[in-house]
Amino acid sequence: MTAIPTPLKAHASTALDVKRVRADFPILRTQVGGKPLVYLDNAASSQMPQPVIDRLVRYQQTEHANIHRGVHHLSEVATGAYEEARRKVQRFINAREEREVIFTSGTTEGINLVMHGYGRKFIGKDDEIILTTLEHHSNIVPWQMLAQEKGAKLRVVPINDAGELLVDEYEKLFNERTKFVAIMHVSNALGTINPIKPMIDFAHARGVPVLVDGAQAAPHLPVDVQELDCEFYAFSGHKLCGPTGIGILYGKAAVLERMQPFKGGGDMILSVSFEKTTYNTIPHKFEAGTPPIAAAIGLGAAIDYLSAIGMDKIAAHEVDLLNYATEQVNGMPGVRVIGTAEKKAAVLSFAIEGVHPHDVGTILNQDGIAIRTGHHCAQPVMQRFKVPATSRASFAFYNSMAEVDALIAGIRNVQKVFA
């Protein structure tokens, strides 16, 4: 994986023209209570640029029909656009084959698909599944369900006080019962970028497959699934400027072929009779029913948009924002950064002394600033840091340094209110 540059000082990003880019996002002109919106909740969901909005509208205006089944013109056009979106995803993550790219409704569904399709078939009583303390609930609960059903066991990799995985503890968890590893690439609560490549290699040396939750990574860093060599990689469209309701599960062809289906229905079959039904080949085996066609095409357009800017440029600008914000917050007495890993994505979780995150969020909202407060669907992380919740600002490539200034001023205001 490419190392992310970490400049020591904030500087105006020469590579990414933020002003130009912001002009593409109509929603950024929203006013909240008479103040300009400062949208810093990108880890929860990202905004959609006009070209992607236009692509969705054009699909519905000129191309829509159900796909794969019809022989009429619009059906062929729609099918072509849908499968072209699949190839765009393939190129975006450097998958070897397009049939390794499955459209899902999001990261959560992708993980559940693997739990049902792989886990329920290959993981059994007393087998062990390795997770980490950092995981989002979507990469915990399906494995708890599986463990409960099969009598399997969960083993959890601990973190240090900076929010970094203890890799030597991870390695110690392995034994002959270890059958699966599920880890997140980037922590949505703390921003930690995990060293997944060596962790995947370690698992593979012991014959253990790995699923990577890439929901917070794919929008912010270049992802190369062949280089990572993970068995599965899941992410969501709405976190990378695409529509909601669409996500991607990448799986190695050989593994997907051995898996049982998740949902049964149309399209995932070759032939159906009441005596015997045969399943379709991949990826269609895992795409039952009419898919979110428009959303998939929208995701393809979002990938085009991001690729035109360049993931490296996006990552570099976001690092600038993170470093500037962190520098400012570190200089504020009574405010503490939670999640101080050496390698971080642009997520800033913080705590203001004496003020509950919910109050922080409500008061910042009065200034038009949108952050997220709560446990971020990562209650184990919160418990590890002995907080019920944090306040979290998460940046995207269309955020500006001025918006970081607004956040800092907002935090000062919160402290004033509670002084």
Binding site: Q148, P158, P357, H358, H375
Partner: protein, 163 residues
């Protein structure tokens, strides 16, 4: 928006900074715990009911400013009241917070508690304001613990040791 700015007015901030009746009632006759798992608000209510009157009442716990101030003002409001009057306040507060009581037109007993009216425009904060009252209702009806979310059977997946 005007009401939400008012929500953090002096009265609420004051009760958050110096909560009234913060502590545990030693010879409590009634007690309940309230929990909002979505945001981490947690409080424990202890009360001593003499005959039909709330004699003494105290609360402890960790919570956001809205919840703490609501708990503080609640304890001050119900201390010395009959159980019936306390339950009336529970109902009226909930209705005001959820916007079903037009507190300016309809007669009620809320007095200074109307300072929480602004919470009805902040749906995500309504539960914070209501939790102490929910918990009071549970305590008066001898229900040991209450949550803002429905209780389901928890899942139990065996967790191996870290070593």
């Amino acid at each position: 928006m005007a009401d939400t700015k008012a929500l953090y007015q002096e009265v609420i901030l004051d009760h958050n900074r110096k909560p009234r009746n913060y502590g545990v009632i030693e010879d409590a006759t009634h007690r309940a715990e309230g929990h909002n798992p979505l945001c981490g608000d947690h409080l424990t209510l202890t009360l001593k009911v003499d005959g039909d009157t709330v004699g003494s009442i105290g609360f402890t716990g960790e919570s956001c400013a809205i919840c703490k101030a609501s708990a503080s003002m609640m304890t001050a409001a119900v201390k010395g009241k009959t159980r019936g009057d306390a339950e009336t306040l529970v109902t009226e507060f909930r209705e005001m917070a959820t916007g079903t009581l037009d507190y300016e037109k309809t007669p009620h007993h809320l007095g200074r508690l109307t300072v929480f009216a602004g919470v009805r425009d902040l749906p995500t904060r309504v539960k914070c304001a209501i939790l102490p009252w929910h918990t009071l209702h549970a305590a008066l009806n001898s229900v040991a613990s209450t949550s803002t979310e429905a209780e389901d059977d928890p899942m139990h997946a065996p967790i191996g040791d870290a070593s």
